[in-house]
C-alpha cells in the first residue's frame, strides 16, 4: 500500500497548506476539487492527506509513513527541499483536526484551521512520537496553554453540535480563536459553503 498523500507543487507561491482529512468524504462534505474551487486556494502548494484508519493520523498515512513521527519527518524533509515555501498552514477536518493541531505545533505553522474538531474518538492505543497513547489522552487545553506558541489556532464549529463542547473549553487560551457559526450539526464546512464564506477563511496568495 502506498502513502495516502497528494502533493500539488506551485513554485510561484510561498504558501503551503497541509490538509488532514477525515473519513470517507474527507470531512469536507464536498469533493476536494469543489473545496479547492470554493476556498480559492488551488493555486497554492498543497499536501492533501488521508487517514484510512481514522486514527487521527497517529498511525500515519499508510505505506512507509506508518506513524505520526514519520509524518512530521516527511513534512520537514519536504520543507527542507522546498526553499520557496515560507508560510506553512495546517487544516484539519473532524477527526483530522487533532493531527493538524499537533503538526502545526511541530512545524511552527503560522496558522492552524480546525473545522468541526473531534477530540479523540478512537479508544485504542497508538504511538505518538515515541509514546504509546490513546487519542483520547490528548488534552488540547493543556497542549495549547503555552505562552511560547507562535502558531495561531482557529477552531471553526457549528454552535448546535457536539463539537461546541470541546471547542468552548479552549476559550481564552493564548493564540486560540474560536469561530462559532449559528448552525446545526457537524458539517461546518457545509455551513461555510452554503453561506458562500469558504473563500474568506484562508489568507490571500503570497508569491515567492
Amino acid at each position: 500500500m502506498k502513502e495516502d498523500i497528494i502533493h500539488l507543487i506551485r513554485k510561484d507561491c510561498s504558501q503551503l497548506f497541509i490538509f488532514f482529512t477525515a473519513g470517507k468524504r474527507f470531512g469536507l462534505h464536498l469533493s476536494p476539487i469543489d473545496f479547492f474551487k470554493e476556498s480559492g486556494i488551488f493555486n497554492r502548494n498543497i499536501m492533501f492527506l488521508r487517514d484510512r484508519e481514522r486514527m487521527h493520523f497517529m498511525n500515519g498515512i499508510g505505506g512507509n509513513i506508518d506513524n505520526f513521527k514519520k509524518l512530521i519527518i516527511h513534512f520537514k524533509e519536504f520543507l527542507a527541499a522546498s526553499p520557496w515555501i515560507k508560510h506553512v498552514y495546517c487544516a484539519g477536518f473532524s477527526n483530522g483536526s487533532l493531527g493538524s493541531v499537533l503538526a502545526g505545533l511541530h512545524l511552527n505553522a503560522e496558522r492552524v484551521y480546525s473545522f468541526a474538531h473531534r477530540p479523540g474518538t478512537y479508544k485504542g492505543p497508538c504511538k505518538y512520537l515515541d509514546e504509546q497513547v490513546s487519542p483520547r489522552s490528548f488534552d488540547l487545553v493543556e497542549i495549547l496553554n503555552q505562552q511560547k506558541i507562535n502558531t495561531v489556532f482557529e477552531f471553526h464549529f457549528n454552535v448546535f453540535s457536539k463539537d461546541m463542547l470541546g471547542c468552548v473549553k479552549l476559550r481564552g487560551l493564548p493564540n486560540v480563536k474560536l469561530k462559532p457559526y449559528w448552525a446545526y450539526g457537524h458539517n461546518t464546512l457545509l455551513t461555510l459553503n452554503h453561506r458562500k464564506r469558504l473563500n474568506t477563511i484562508f489568507p490571500k496568495f503570497i508569491g515567492v
Partner: protein, 81 residues
C-alpha cells in the same frame, strides 16, 4: 500504437486504482462516471499530470469530462502543453 503520454497515464491509473486488474484499464475505459476513480484518485492524477508533463491544470479544468478516460486526459495534456 500507444503514445508515450497514454502509456504513462495508463500506468498511473493502474497505480492509483487498487484491486483493479490491468486488463480493466484501456484508453477508452470510463473512469469517473463509472465510479472507478474517486475524487482523491482524481486529485492524485492531477498531481501526477502536473509533475510528469509539466502542465498547469487550472481548477476549472478539473471536471469529469477531462478525466473520464485516458483519452480525455491525454487530450487535456495536449491542450495545455
Amino acid at each position: 500504437m500507444t503514445s508515450t503520454i497514454k502509456k504513462q497515464l495508463i500506468d498511473q491509473v493502474k497505480s492509483v486504482l487498487e484491486n483493479t486488474s490491468e486488463s480493466e484499464v484501456k484508453s477508452h475505459t470510463t473512469l469517473v462516471t463509472s465510479g472507478l476513480i474517486d475524487s482523491f484518485a482524481m486529485l492524485e492524477l492531477v498531481a501526477f499530470m502536473e509533475s510528469e508533463f509539466l502542465v498547469k491544470i487550472e481548477v476549472e479544468d478539473i471536471e469529469a469530462k477531462n478525466f473520464d478516460s485516458i483519452d480525455a486526459m491525454e487530450n487535456l495534456i495536449q491542450r495545455l502543453k
